[in-house]
Structures are given as C-alpha cells and as structure tokens.
C-alpha cells in the first residue's frame, strides 16, 4: 500500500480544488498585468531609443511662395545640418514620400499634389553626440524662416507619463490581488484547522510541535498552489501570445511590437513561484498563530 503523504486527511476537504482554482485565477490576472507592464516598458524603450537619436525638421511653406523657395530652404538647412558635429545623416523626405504618408487620410488624388505640404528633413544623430538642439534650431531658422525642429521630447515625456500611470495601476492590481489571495488563504487555512482539529489534537498529543502541523499544511498548500499557478501561467501566456499575434495582424505599422523577449517570458514564470511563496508563508503564519491561541 502507498504511504500516506500527509498526516492530515487533506484529500477529504474542498481545499483540494479550491486552492488551485483561486491560485490559477490570481496568477492568470497577475501574469497578464505583469505582461502588460513589460510590453509597455519594452515599447517605450524602443521608442525612446529610436527618437533620442533622431530629429525631424519641418519647413512650412511660406504663403504664396514658389516651390523653388522651399527647395532652397531645404538645401540650406541640409547644408547647416551636414556641418554640425554629431549629425550622422540628414535626408530630405521628398514630396512623393510625404504624399504616401498622408495617403491613408487624404487619399491619392491630384488634390494632394496641390496642397501646400510642409517639407520634412529626417536627421539621424550619433549616439551620445550631445547635439545642442536649441542652437541647431536657431541656425536652421536663420536659413529657413518658419522651420521647426522637433526632437520628440515633449511627446516622449507625455508617453512616459501615460505608461507610468498604466504601470502604477497594473502594479496596484497585482498588489490588490495578492492581498485578496492572502485573505482567501487565511480563511482556507483556518477552515482546514477547524475541519481537522481532531487530527491536529492527536498530533499534538503524540508530541508534534506546532511547526510540524504547520509544515503539513505548507506542503499541501505548496502542491496545490503550484498546480493552480501553472494553470494560471499557461492561460496568461496563451492570452499574451494571442494578443501579440492579433496586434501584428491588425496594423503592424501603427501598433507597437507587443512581443516579449525570452527573458521577459522567463520573468513571468516567477509569478506562480512568488504566488506559491506568498501562499506558503501565509499558511505557515496562520497555522502558527491559530495554534498558539489554543491551550
């Protein structure tokens, strides 16, 4: 006959399915939240890296100005840029390319050609070049009045603030779920102690320490929580992978890349591990505190 795993008859109570179910739900939601945070962080890092080494110069057409004037201003601006240390490249975006960019909103009819569209210069900076954008903007405006230099800082700052807010909310959700989980485990453990009080009393009477009884509960809860945690993680991984697939199919040019790196996927594995650790610690403290109150 197989040896009983526990001195307490846990297989006869509802914790057998209740704890895994609760843990699966907790881990699923926590892993989704963490996955969301990681995706946002990755996106903001990619955007920051891309935009911190780039400038966009916009030269608005002057009223009633000839196209030749606009071309002249672009060439003068390019000349200034190419003489500036730290500028790796400066390329004027031609009118056709600008028209193609606007095509989703304005269509491709002849009307677009007649619109006074601004001229754009895409500037790539050397990494850590320390280009003084304010001085550069002044020099550009001298040769091309009405030009604006956009280093995307305001946009990135606002985006970062938005991402921070979403991260804080997600972290709050994770903490809230952990607190709810702790509350549930406390109740389950107390119920277990009540349900098995006769057996616990026998264990005490044959010389068991409170730690021995607590260890029985811990082992049982660890097995249950790992089982539930793995189910929750599998569900969350499926949901995140599905979200990535859907986002790529939907509009790859508009939506950021939501793929997680291998390290980030591995960090999600820590969620059920952390949830199990919290569950075991909660069980231990609950058992010991409850038993200490007994005679």
């Amino acid at each position: 006959m197989a040896r009983a795993r526990y001195d307490l008859p846990f297989t006869s109570d509802d914790s057998q399915w209740f704890v895994p179910a609760i843990l699966a739900l907790m881990v699923f939601l926590a892993a989704l939240s963490l996955g969301g945070i990681l995706m946002l962080q990755q996106t903001i890092e990619r955007w920051s890296a891309g935009f911190s080494a780039a400038l966009t110069i916009q030269i608005s057409p002057e009223e009633n100005a000839k196209p030749a004037t606009s071309d002249e201003q672009v060439n003068k601006a390019l000349a200034v840029l190419r003489q500036t240390p730290g500028v790796m490249s400066a390329e004027a975006i031609d009118s056709d390319a600008i028209a193609r960019l606007l095509e989703p909103w304005l269509g491709s009819g002849p009307l677009v050609r007649d619109l006074p569209l601004p001229r754009l210069i895409d500037v790539a900076l050397a990494p850590n070049a320390g280009v003084d954008v304010v001085t550069l903007a002044r020099q550009i405006v001298e040769v091309a009045p009405g030009a604006t230099v956009d280093d995307h800082r305001d946009w990135l700052r606002n985006l970062r603030n938005l991402v921070r807010s979403v991260e804080l909310i997600s972290a709050g959700v994770i903490v809230f779920m952990a607190l709810v989980g702790i509350g549930v485990i406390v109740l389950v453990t107390r119920t277990g102690l009540l349900l098995h009080r006769d057996v616990v009393e026998v264990l005490h009477l044959v010389g068991a320490r409170d730690f021995y009884v607590a260890r029985q509960f811990e082992r049982h809860v660890l097995a249950m929580s790992l089982k539930g945690g793995m189910i929750g993680l599998a569900l969350a991984a499926g949901a995140l992978a599905g979200l990535d697939q859907v986002s790529q199919r939907l509009a790859p040019s508009l939506l950021p890349n939501l793929s997680l790196s291998a390290v980030q996927w591995l960090s999600l594995v820590l969620v059920p591990v952390a949830a199990s650790a919290i569950t075991v610690a909660t069980t231990r403290v609950t058992v010991l505190r409850t038993l200490t109150r007994q005679p």
Binding site: R3, P9, V202, L203, L205
Partner: protein
C-alpha cells in the same frame, strides 16, 4: 533543557487541583496525590466520577481550573508552549475512543509518534512492524482502522502509545472493547512495560479485572478522591 525525569521526585503530582467546564460545577475537586516513577496504578470509579478528566490533565489535553499539576517535576501551568511537545513525547496515551487516524494504515498510525519526533519512516517501519506483531496484529499491518474490529483498533492504539517507549503510560478504559481473555492479556502486556520501567496509570471501571491484579487503586467518587492506595502521598507539595 532540564531532564524530564529526575530521580527521587514524583513523576505525577497533583496539588489541590480542581476542574470545571465553563461555568458548571467542579467535575474534579481537591485532588491531591503523587505517583512515583515505575509505579503501576489503577484509577477506578463509576462512570462520570472524573477518571477521564483526571487523565486529560495528565496528558496535557486540559488545564486545571485551580491547583498545580506537575509532570516529571515540571509545573504545567508555567511550562512554555514550545516545551510541551517534548513532555508529551514522554507520555503514551491509550484513548478511550482510540483516536486512530482513519486515512492512515495501522502501521502509519503506530509510526505517528516517531514521525512527529523526526524519525524517518523507513527507519521506523521495522520497529513498528515488530510492535504490531507483539500486539498480535502482524497480519493487519496495512489495514485501515475502519476495517479493524474494536479490539484490533484498541491494540493499534496501545501500540501507538508505547512505540516511543514512554516514561508514563496513561490508558483510559483500555479493555473496554475486548473480551475478558484479551483484557487480561493486554493487562499483562502493560505489566511487561511496567517491568521495563514505564509508569502505568490505567483508568477503568472494570473492578473484576482490577481485582485480578495486585496494583494499587486510586478511587474517584463524584470528582473527589474517595480512597488513595496505601503508601501514596496525598500531599504532593
């Protein structure tokens, strides 16, 4: 840690002990006696006389409402909680209702005191098997308590009580579920343990059985000691 058993001092000592449940009357009152190490005593009395309550005080399942209970020279009222398990491991108890764990086999039930003391199961198995043979249960080692007869359960309970060679063995009506022949055999078994140095206290209302042995009796009546055996000190202080 102080040694649990000290020479020349009582193994059990009750001093002016009283017990009441809730706000009810005292079920034990003015209990004064002490038991020497290696002694063999019967506690007798009618049902409701307080025999089980007296034993519960001795195996630390209850606290007295008043008075002092000492075991192995330790005052239980001031014994720290973390030292109670060590004391309990020196006490074997045969409960009236056996209190076997239904989800464990006879072998695992008997091995329980060893397991809680940290002895690995593989190491305990041989010893437990030997003991189960000693109580005539060699062929029922893997049986669950629910499949055992009352007498077999009783013997499993006795085996569990003595597996860690306790200094003090307390038995509450240990022959209540067996026929007279088996009852006498069990009593002889307790005598063997007593010869090995274990202090034995048996609570029973079976006067016929008690009279077949020459061990002293402590008679309880309505929660008080009606008669102490000669030579048993009444004042434990």
């Amino acid at each position: 840690m102080r040694p649990l058993e000290t020479q020349n001092q009582p193994i059990v000592s009750f001093n002016n002990v009283g017990v009441r449940y809730g706000g009810g009357p005292e079920v034990l009152a003015d209990i004064n006696f002490s038991l020497d190490p290696g002694s063999f005593h019967f506690i007798t009395g009618d049902s409701g006389a307080g025999k089980s309550t007296l034993l519960k005080l001795m195996y630390l399942a209850h606290r007295p409402t008043r008075g002092v209970v000492s075991l192995f020279g330790r005052d239980l009222a001031i014994l720290p909680r973390d030292q109670r398990p060590q004391l309990r491991r020196q006490i074997g108890v045969v409960f009236q209702d056996f209190r076997l764990l239904d989800h464990l086999s006879a072998l695992e039930n008997v091995a329980l005191p060893l397991r809680v003391a940290g002895i690995p199961y593989a190491q305990a198995r041989e010893e437990v098997t030997e003991l189960l043979k000693w109580v005539w249960l060699a062929d029922r080692i893997e049986a669950r308590p629910s499949t055992l007869s009352g007498g077999e359960q009783q013997r499993v309970a006795i085996a569990r009580a003595v597996i860690n060679r306790p200094s003090l063995l307390l038995a509450d009506e240990p022959t209540g579920n067996v026929d007279d022949g088996m009852a006498v055999r069990l009593l002889y078994l307790f005598e063997e343990l007593n010869k090995l140095g274990t202090t034995i206290v048996i609570a029973t209302h079976n006067q016929a059985l008690v009279s077949r042995f020459s061990h002293p009796q402590l008679v309880l009546k309505n929660g008080t000691i009606a008669r102490l055996p000669s030579g048993t000190p009444r004042d434990a202080a």
